[in-house]
Structure formats: C-alpha cells, structure tokens
C-alpha cells in the first residue's frame, strides 16, 4: 500500500486522464493546449523523460520582433550601447530565396541540441545540458574562454563584455561569462511557458509552440507528427529541439 501522497497523486492523475478536473496545462484557444505535462513539484529535479522543445511557424512571423522584445524584457539582456558586443539571446534572421525572391524572417536562438557541441568543447563543464534537455551555461564555473561560442553553429551564445547593473532577480548576469537562451528555465520550472512563446501567443500570431517532445500526446509532438518540420543545419546531426515549419 503506497503512502497517502502517492495515492493522492494517482487519484489526481486519474482525474486528469478522464478530464474530470481542469488540466495543469494552459489552454489558449479551444482545442489548442500548449503543453500537457503535469507540473513538476517544487523541490524535485528536472525530469529526464522530458525534452522541452519549440516549434516555430515562420509563415506567421513577418518582420515581427515580439519574441525578441519579450526575451529582452524577461531576461534583461538589452545592451546599453547597442553595438556589436551586446548580448543576443534571440534574433530575427531574414532570408531571401534567390530564385523566387520569396522572403522570410525567423527567430533564431539556442537550439537546445540533443548533442550540443558547446557542451563537448567546454573545458570546465560549465556548458551543460539539463536532464530535461535544456542547454545552459553554469555561469558559476564559466571561465569566459568562449570555446562554446566558436563551437555553436547557430551563433546562439554571447559573451558579456561589460559590467552589468540592474539585473533581474531571477536572472543573474555578469561580466566575463558566456550566456544564451535558457528556454526560460526559471519559468518552465515554475510551470510557465517561455516568455517569447507567451508574447507571441498574446500578439495573436501564435507562431510558436512550446512543449514536451518526448510526450507523444503533447500538442507539439502531435503537430510534428503530422507536418514536415525543418531543423536548421540538420546535416550536422545535433538534433536541435527547436524546429521550424513553413520554411
């Protein structure tokens, strides 16, 4: 006989399955669930059975920069001078098909690779992949060598060149370390979706989808199963967890 807590969880799970209670995920439109994973209780570690991922429909992007602005605001990485040394956790990249002249614009950030080269090259173990697939820099041990920046084919990482002031409480940043998109780990761990996705949805474009790629019943997995998606530089076999549609 399991203890009371487990029983409670079982009961909750059964109710969840049968739809008897409101689900833990967030419904933003009828029939469109952002993610179906049950909230991970505080005090527990990231779950290796989870792979957080993003699916981005670039036909809905245009020259919109809502995701970039939301990321800056959430994580406080806006530069003070706007020059080349400013950090960039997410950026819009414009593409033009030379034959057809068709233009598109897509957000590019850390792809949270299953086989991240930035982790392979880090000499101190600061560049790391969490159990749930989120790739991070442990700034506590980062020595600022920037090997990871050279190894990343997506140019996703930035070096903090200058002293930082006015950091967000939830997002420490400091001079001399490398940083990049954290898939808003601080939010995801609190059962929230990344700031870029939230802002994109709120803008009405709904171009970004966040969810658990390892759960075949998550909306993101279902969508990926029914359409053809593009992984940037798929030829390198890094298995990025950020994927695109309508390229």
């Amino acid at each position: 006989m399991s203890n009371i807590r487990d029983n409670d969880i079982d009961k909750a799970r059964r109710q969840f399955m049968t739809g008897a209670v409101a689900t833990a995920g967030m419904t933003i439109a009828p029939g469109f669930m952002l993610y179906t994973a049950e909230a991970r209780p505080a005090g527990t570690a990231a779950d290796p059975k989870v792979r957080w991922g993003l699916l981005i429909d670039i036909s809905k992007c245009d020259d919109c920069t809502v995701c970039v602005d939301a990321c800056k605001k959430e994580n406080g990485w806006q530069g003070h001078r706007g020059d080349l040394t400013d950090a960039q956790w997410i950026r819009k990249v414009d593409l033009k098909d030379k034959n057809t002249g068709v233009k598109s614009s897509l957000p590019v950030m850390c792809m949270h690779c299953e086989y991240p080269p930035c982790v392979d090259v880090c000499p101190v173990g600061a560049s790391m992949k969490r159990a749930d697939g989120i790739v991070l820099v442990d700034k506590h041990i980062c020595i600022g060598c920037r090997y990871c920046m050279m190894a990343c084919p997506y140019g996703a990482r930035s070096f903090v060149h200058e002293e930082v002031h006015g950091q967000k409480t939830h997002l420490p940043r400091g001079q001399g370390t490398v940083e990049s998109c954290t898939m808003c780990a601080h939010r995801v761990d609190n059962d929230q979706i990344p700031a870029c996705v939230e802002a994109c949805n709120a803008s009405g474009r709904e171009a970004m989808m966040f969810g658990n790629l390892r759960d075949p019943n998550s909306d993101i997995s279902k969508r990926i199963a029914e359409i053809s998606t593009v992984k940037l530089r798929a030829d390198m076999g890094l298995d990025p967890h950020v994927q695109y549609v309508n390229f």
Partner: protein
C-alpha cells in the same frame, strides 16, 4: 573599549585603522576584549532558514549546494536560495541611495573576516518588491514543512 586600546590602533597602518574603527563601531559593549561583527537585523521573517550557529558557520556551503541543485538539476524552491537571503536580509543601504539591499548584512561579517564574494556582480542584491518572484515563499506553512524535510535530509536538525 578603552581609550588606550583605541590609541594603539591609531598608530597602526591606515588600513587597519579603518577596519578596526568599523568593527569597534559595530561592537559597542561585548563581553571580553574581542570585538565581533553585528550584522543588521533581518528585514523579514522570525527565523532564519537554519539555526543561527549553523548559518554563521556553514552558509557558504549551503548556498553552494543549492546553487548546483538549482542551476544544474533544475530544483527550485529549496530554502538556501540566494534570492531568499536577499528577500529577508536586504535592509536600507546608504550606498544604494536607501534602497533595500543585502550588502550591509553580508558585508559586516565579510569585511571583518576579509572575505570577498563575487555573487552580487551577477545576482542582484536588491530586494525584489515584486512578490511573484518568490512564489514558493508565499505559503509559510508549505515552506516551513519543506524546510524541516530538507534539514532532516541533510541531518542539520534531528
């Protein structure tokens, strides 16, 4: 402190004078001759996250342990959070124009012991007046229960 003792310090190097002056100012009437630092009273909370002697001796290890748990394993909401220290121990700081920061509290001891920490070059030492940042702290009963579990686990308390 006696005048003579003070005088003795004055004749020492300037750096020592500053340190000694600081310590003496912070320790008006302790028993015995050894001046000890008196960190500012916590702005919040009845109790610290562990018994005071344990905190005084071991806070750096507790912090480091939780640092790795949170960043590398994604474990949130445990008691030895740096955000938590700031939330309770941030007091009005003249150097920050009166804003509530944790600097006066941590620094009182650290300058006494000649410890230099770099934590606040990245982490903000300013109290976050926006309460949502400390969601897990909202429910005191939940936090206390979790705290007990955690301390037992780490056999800090029996």
């Amino acid at each position: 402190m006696t005048q003579g003792r003070h005088h003795f310090w004055k004749t020492m190097a300037a750096g020592l004078l500053i340190l000694a002056g600081f310590v003496l100012a912070g320790a008006p009437a302790v028993a015995g001759d050894v001046p000890v630092p008196h960190p500012a009273k916590a702005a919040k909370g009845e109790k610290c996250v562990a018994p005071i002697p344990e905190m005084r001796r071991n806070h750096m290890n507790l912090l480091k342990h939780q640092r790795d748990d949170t960043l590398r394993k994604g474990i949130r909401g445990n008691p030895f959070s740096l955000k938590g220290c700031v939330d309770c121990h941030a007091v009005p700081d003249k150097a920050a124009g009166g804003a509530r920061t944790v600097r006066p509290f941590c620094q009182t001891c650290h300058s006494y012991a000649a410890v230099k920490i770099d934590c606040f070059s990245c982490h903000t030492g300013k109290a976050d007046e926006d309460k949502t940042a400390l969601k897990a702290m909202d429910n005191p009963h939940k936090v206390t229960a979790r705290l007990q579990d955690y301390l037992k686990q780490r056999s800090v308390v029996k």
